[in-house]
């Protein structure tokens, strides 16, 4: 073995070489290289096909049409976004284009000063995206665009319902409980829920609140982050009562929503659970977790009506997916977003069943599956769509709400816990 002195010399030289190398690479990290190509980073949450390929193909096509632009595509698992985006917005080099669900989530991100105002850059074409775009504006300033709208309802296995002898989809809470009982009797896990990720739990609280609370009370409560109205307490109680009927799969508190065959989506996909309260993206997620063709096996029904609830029975929980730009390459980003909003790409998203409710009307003609069509129609006819609470609220408050609901699912807390958590987190 060489003596210490020579070894240390090697280490010193090596470190020096490494440092100079790093210095060289650091110089050209601002996205522009000598030959005038601009490199953009594109963060999206479509880690699995078909959406993975759709975005990649879109990027390839855009790069072919725009020779001076290169786009680095970075797919990131949906659950990791909550960690990575705050860190990215806190740093010197946030991604140029990134996945964003709008609402209070976006408003919190805007505080970083890194999210680009694209009002001017999109004014020509944002009108084509419909009213949904409003959820990506904060105080009248456009900070992002949507590419899909979503609603939340029960995806269910038609074959398992048949097996359990359920003849009609539940329209009231009582009917839902009856269906749960029949499924249990048939030895099938009635409802799968991804408790580990917490936001699937919150879907239940949110939807009960949509049922219990009148529209104005609901919107005002969320705008003020004040859930003291008794209707929210009733929603909390409804969640507790519902959990008490034990409708979920074993170990629901530790089940992830979308990752792997053991996730709640995977359970329904593989026929191990009969229902899941999820958004419109879930069908494509489920299909990705099984080789069986789910088209003839999946149905959908909206969250049942709740007796005595002040909410409009056709109101629903929902939201959307979209993208935002950061300051440095806002113009290039906005141009790319216009490209992504084209009818062609919207149609592709619809055809692959990744998106059930496109933002461009024209793409809706591509819906062939009757179940998805029913979802689309339901959305059109809904009295209003309430954005998921954790997205509507600022990030910290939304997380506190999800945690409080997750606690209810874990058997801790009271009907007032959620409102209390929100008040404490404000």
């Amino acid at each position: 073995m060489m003596n210490t002195r020579t070894m240390r010399k090697y280490v010193a030289v090596g470190a020096a070489a490494a440092m100079s190398l790093a210095a060289l690479t650091a110089c050209s990290s601002n996205g522009e290289s000598a030959d005038g190509t601009t490199t953009l980073t594109f963060w999206h949450n479509g880690t699995a096909d078909p959406i993975l390929s759709i975005w990649q193909d879109a990027v390839d096509e855009y790069e072919a049409q725009n020779e001076n632009i290169t786009i680095d595509v970075v797919p990131i698992q949906n659950e990791d976004f909550a960690t990575k985006i705050p860190l990215a917005l806190s740093s010197d080099n946030p991604p140029d284009i990134y996945f964003n669900q709008g609402g209070g989530l976006l408003a919190t991100q805007v505080q970083s000063g890194q999210v680009a105002d694209i009002t001017e850059l999109t004014s020509d074409w944002i009108g084509d995206l419909g009213a949904a775009a409003g959820n990506w504006s904060v105080d009248g300033v456009q900070y992002g665009i949507p590419y899909a709208s979503q609603v939340v309802g029960f995806w269910y296995r038609t074959d398992l319902f048949e097996e359990a002898g359920i003849t009609a989809t539940p329209t009231t809470l009582a009917e839902l409980s009856a269906a749960v009982d029949k499924l249990k009797a048939a030895g099938i896990a009635p409802i799968a829920v991804g408790g580990k990720d917490r936001w699937p739990d919150a879907f239940y609280y949110n939807t009960f609140a949509v049922r219990e609370c009148g529209e104005d009370v609901l919107k005002q409560g969320l705008a003020d982050a004040d859930l003291s109205d008794p209707c929210f307490t009733r929603a909390g109680q409804a969640v507790i009562d519902f959990i008490a009927t034990e409708p979920f799969q074993d170990g629901f508190n530790g089940t992830p929503a979308q990752q792997g065959a053991g996730s709640s989506a995977g359970l329904v996909a593989n026929g191990e659970a009969a229902m899941e309260l999820q958004g419109t993206w879930d069908k494509s997620v489920m299909q990705g977790l099984t080789d069986t063709d789910l088209n003839p096996l999946l149905g959908w029904f909206p969250f049942p009506a709740v007796e005595g609830g002040a909410g409009d029975p056709s109101a629903t929980l929902g939201g959307g997916d979209g993208f935002s730009c950061t300051q440095e390459h806002a113009a290039e980003c906005a141009d790319f977003l216009e490209f992504l909003s084209s009818d062609e790409i919207q149609t592709k998203l619809v055809e692959s069943q990744v998106v059930a409710i496109p933002v461009k009307e024209a793409a809706s003609a591509a819906i062939t599956d009757p179940v998805i069509k029913s979802v689309y129609d339901f959305n059109s006819e809904a009295a209003y769509v309430q954005t998921y609470f954790d997205i509507a609220l600022p990030t910290g408050v939304g997380s506190a709400l999800n945690d409080a609901v997750a606690n209810l699912f874990a058997g801790q807390g009271t009907a007032e816990s959620v409102a209390e958590a929100v008040a404490a987190a404000k």
Partner: protein, 326 residues
């Protein structure tokens, strides 16, 4: 320097410094000595103070504000962050989980390490190979360990499969999904990772226990258990104390395993102080609050170390923390 220094330096006490030079050159060499000290100690001190102390002082300052990490600190809230953290049932639970790991390590890992070290202390063929294998989990990163066990502990995964094959299907649990089980599961993984380290440490410590003492005790009629309890274990004292110190500090800052395997769930059943800190401080843009949690965590470590050093490590004259070099 002069030859008189060589004469002075023939004293036998272990060297701890340069011998004194003659008076005439002392002033010049004093300045030189100061320069040398500055050169030798400066860089390390600056790096250390800069990245270890300054951040803590900064954290103490940030902790007094409600701050989302962007822009200036404007919202002074005093000790509000501290009261909120200490009053948060989730954080209280986190403290409890850390303490659980600490206590469980002491109760389970310590005796187990010593026992296994004693068992393996004889002349076994392939002893070096054994040391190598046993130490392996310690060398892996916690992140890799977490990914490995996440895979093994999947419902209907390897662990479940093996238990069922062995006819112990009734023992199958929802290792990471059951609130009542998850901390035990995490502790088991921690033990898997660090038991080899303990065994090796105590094997080395046992080298310092003379065989003659044990033989003498046996001749005097002591049973193996008595010998162990009354002779071996006390002689392992310094080793045990160091193991305890390292174990507790490690337990207090448990993060990687938790973050990757459970993210603190389900419903906060496996949250640790460090995972709570990262979740609140970074994911929720609450940098002031997160700083308060960091200070609380630091105080835990600091108080423990002070108390421990005072009561437990005092006796070790060559103990690293007492810092006295004879």
């Amino acid at each position: 320097m002069s030859t008189s220094s060589a004469a002075v330096a023939t004293s036998v006490t272990a060297a701890a410094g340069a011998a004194a030079p003659p008076r005439s050159t002392r002033r010049r060499s004093k300045l030189r000595k100061r320069l040398e000290l500055a050169l030798l100690l400066g860089p390390a001190s600056i790096l250390f103070v800069g990245f270890v102390f300054m951040p803590l002082i900064a954290a103490a300052y940030y902790s007094l504000f409600d701050w989302n990490g962007f822009g200036p600190l404007t919202d002074f809230v005093g000790i509000d962050n501290y009261t909120r953290a200490l009053g948060d049932p989730l954080f209280q639970g986190a403290i409890g989980h850390n303490l659980f790991i600490v206590v469980a390590s002491l109760i389970v890992q310590l005796p187990l390490s010593i026992a296994l070290a004693l068992l393996l202390n004889g002349k076994i063929r392939g002893r070096t190979g054994l040391r190598l294998l046993v130490f392996t989990p310690y060398v892996l990163s916690e992140a890799v360990t977490a990914v490995i066990w996440l895979s093994l502990l999947q419902p209907h995964g390897v662990v479940d499969g093996l238990l069922e094959n062995a006819g112990l299907g009734g023992l199958v649990q929802l290792w990471l999904a059951d609130q009542n089980v998850v901390m035990f599961t995490l502790f088991a993984v921690v033990t898997w990772k660090y038991i080899g380290f303990g065994i090796i440490l105590f094997l080395a410590g046992l080298q310092g226990v003379p065989e003659e003492l044990r033989e003498a005790a046996a001749i005097d009629g002591a049973s193996p258990w008595q010998t162990t309890r009354l002779i071996v274990v006390p002689l392992l004292g310094p080793t045990i104390r160091i193991w305890i110190f390292l174990s507790i500090i490690g337990s207090l800052q448990l993060f990687d395993l938790v973050w990757i395997m459970t993210l603190g769930g389900p419903a906060g059943a496996s949250t640790t102080m460090a995972s709570y800190l990262i979740d609140r401080g970074f994911r929720r843009y609450e940098f002031g609050f997160g700083s308060a949690v960091a200070i609380i965590l630091f105080i835990f470590c600091f108080v423990f170390a002070l108390v421990y050093q005072r009561f437990a490590l005092r006796r070790d004259t060559q103990g690293a923390l007492t810092g006295r070099v004879e």
